[in-house]
Symmetry: C2
Subunit: 413 residues, 2 copies
């Protein structure tokens, strides 16, 4: 296996702290780093020398002399080309890929259809091929690839890199995704839940960079939340934290595929929105979506079509989406009340399509109805990564685990 | 201010690790400690010598000689009398107190009625008096008191020790509880949300000792949850995490005092149960509780009376409690699905009264209806601290912050 560059030696906490400040500071000097970290000037100087020697950091032009007439404040920046990370978003219908440089810029992208019928082996082979093609196209040398991050539907064990029979992936059973991809690609592979990956991406590169407690509400094929508590991704005891789709609202409500009744998913998931539209069409209500309903064609209505119709002013589509947005807004008020996060990030593939329709309703619900709303400000932001949210998150898993200042290996109580 | 004993010097991570193993190990030897911590034998010997010198630990009789014929395995135990912590549970109707020794045994208790009419000053004065009386009665020297922990309704800032206008405490505004009590008592005071304190108590001394992710569902005057994630108490961005009472289930549901509609509290809090019973009595339904309803007396029905009636077989009371238990069970399925905790602890004053009536329904809901129930075991346990849950939790705040192996002062990302 390639070992990436010497970047993987970045294990020292203080060094990670310094590196992260340089990354976020966009031109921090040694003096500023010492001030902000509380580290001794000599310690900072030593760490920076090591980072310069390793090629992780570059000096970006001399700054002005400090008032005391002492050392010049040389600006430090991350060397974008010192390392790259590949992100793979594994979805039931699509696999999307992306290459991030060390500054978090996307250097190359690709996406192609996935088929649940391909099975785990077929899917892994396709994904590995796609990674090889992506890298070939960019000319980045193999030794500069830090690793491959994979955002996968759960349930999964992110440490073991094993996925357990995710909903919609029939016949997967227990799939050793990390091992299978490492064998095929020769790079270290990190697997995580798609919602966790999306949250890590927002925390590392997106709209949640300074936020310790937030929920990333991800609307992909399903609906889930990636949770950050006290500055760390929270995965739960079995890696399934954030399954807000299956918060039961009504013990006597409609049956859900999960075996329970009255789950939130039955009121606001994309699948549910489509079902409501289909039912209304069946009942003969008029709508521009009726074209999908001639004969036996109603199964061809997808969420995207409903969103397009609503944006074009179709009343039936608007009503179905409005109801879903209202139920989701209501559920997110409950999530904020339970978790006291101060940011809700909205994103994911289906949110890209329905975003404008949902965001207003969700914002209104949270601003008007959260408990103790007079004492706290809860923000609602939309992810800027659009359709790439999952792939950016996946690639961020690698950079985050290599570079985020984290206390590793110390036993927690 | 008293500085407690030299116990407060216990700041070193390895020392805390060793101390905690001795505490939990109930007679661990130096050899066992070295094996379980991975610390070098000499390091363990040095730490233990320091703990013996400080009087925190005692040698509890010689063990048998080890097989290798080497040193005898001397059993080490915590010296119960080396330090004490006072716990104060501040409730709208009652203040309860408790003195814990270093082994977590309650050495003295007291409780007395509180009145919201007393205002913050009156309440703080009463509480301070009660602490003085409790300590006077036990004869514990002031220098052996590590501190006073206070479990208070929120919202509050546990670091600043400030409580902000908790529901039901009219006219409190911003109350500097920590400062006011420290001035009056001369001991260090730690304040925390009552649900957080209860969870810390269970983690330190109760039924959640080995559990990193759990929710303590607290039924006191209201209903709330104390949350532990990845081995740490989680308080949220403004100290209000765990407000599950105000998870809105139905955007068109009945109004809640919080200004929202359809909150869980409106379906299952003790207050709601009493309201449902009163309504049913008003409608003329027969019940043993009718004695409370002659003339204008219906306001005298309290939750305790309803529980007693249900336990004695009263159908009306049973129905109201059954409905509440069902809604709470449903909500806790949602909490488990969202947070992927593997333990739910039930406790608090009102749970003591209704415990037998609620626990079965909640257990059934969680065992039968949690998502991925075939892949994970979620336990439901009842707190063993009964009415003292809050006070034990409050006292645990002090011991926990002094002794739990925690990484302090290091910046978290």
């Amino acid at each position: 296996m390639h070992n990436g560059t010497n970047l993987l030696r970045v294990r020292d906490y203080n060094q990670q702290l310094v590196l992260n400040l340089i990354r976020l500071g966009n031109g921090a000097s040694r003096v500023e780093i010492a001030e902000r970290t509380g580290l001794a000037a000599q310690t900072v100087t030593n760490i920076v020398r090591r980072l310069l020697d390793d090629g992780l950091v570059v000096e970006a032009g001399k700054g002005t002399a400090s008032r005391s007439g002492g050392k010049r404040r040389v600006k430090l920046r991350i060397n974008s080309d010192a390392g790259y990370s590949v992100g793979v978003q594994l979805d039931r219908e699509e696999i999307s890929l992306l290459l991030l440089d060390l500054n978090g810029r996307a250097r190359s992208k690709s996406r192609f259809p996935n088929s649940p019928a391909a099975g785990p082996l077929g899917t892994v082979d396709r994904a590995a091929d796609a990674v090889r093609r992506l890298l070939k196209g960019t000319g980045v040398p193999a030794e500069n690839i830090l690793g491959v991050g994979v955002a996968s539907p759960g349930p999964l064990d992110h440490e073991a890199g094993v996925v357990y029979d995710p909903p919609g992936f029939e016949g997967w059973g227990e799939v050793h995704l990390k091992e299978m991809l490492e064998e095929r690609l020769g790079y270290p592979v990190a697997i995580d839940n798609d919602v966790v990956a999306a949250a890590v991406g927002e925390h590392w590169l997106g709209v949640a960079q300074d936020v310790g407690n937030f929920a990333f509400v991800y609307m992909g094929g399903g609906l889930g939340a990636g949770l950050f508590f006290d500055g760390r991704a929270y995965r739960g005891s079995t890696g399934t934290a954030g399954e807000i789709s299956h918060v039961p609202l009504d013990p006597d409500g409609p049956e859900c595929w999960c075996g329970n009744r009255g789950c939130l998913a039955r009121f606001c998931s994309p699948r549910d929105v489509v079902a409501v539209v289909a039912r209304d069409l069946e009942r003969g209500q008029s709508s521009s979506l009726r074209v999908y309903f001639d004969g036996q064609q109603q199964k061809d209505i997808d969420f995207e079509a409903v969103c397009r119709a609503a944006l074009a002013g179709d009343a039936l589509a608007s009503k179905a989406l409005g109801r879903a947005a209202r139920m989701l807004g209501n559920a997110l008020v409950g999530l904020v009340n339970t978790l006291d996060v101060n940011l809700v990030v909205l994103g994911g593939k289906n949110f890209e399509q329905a975003g404008r329709l949902y965001a207003g309703e969700i914002e209104r619900a949270i601003h008007e109805r959260v408990l103790y709303g007079h004492r706290r400000k809860v923000e609602v932001r939309s992810s800027r990564f659009g359709e790439d949210t999952g792939a950016v998150g996946a690639a961020s898993l690698v950079l985050y685990s290599a570079f985020a200042p984290q206390l590793r290996g110390l036993p927690a109580e």
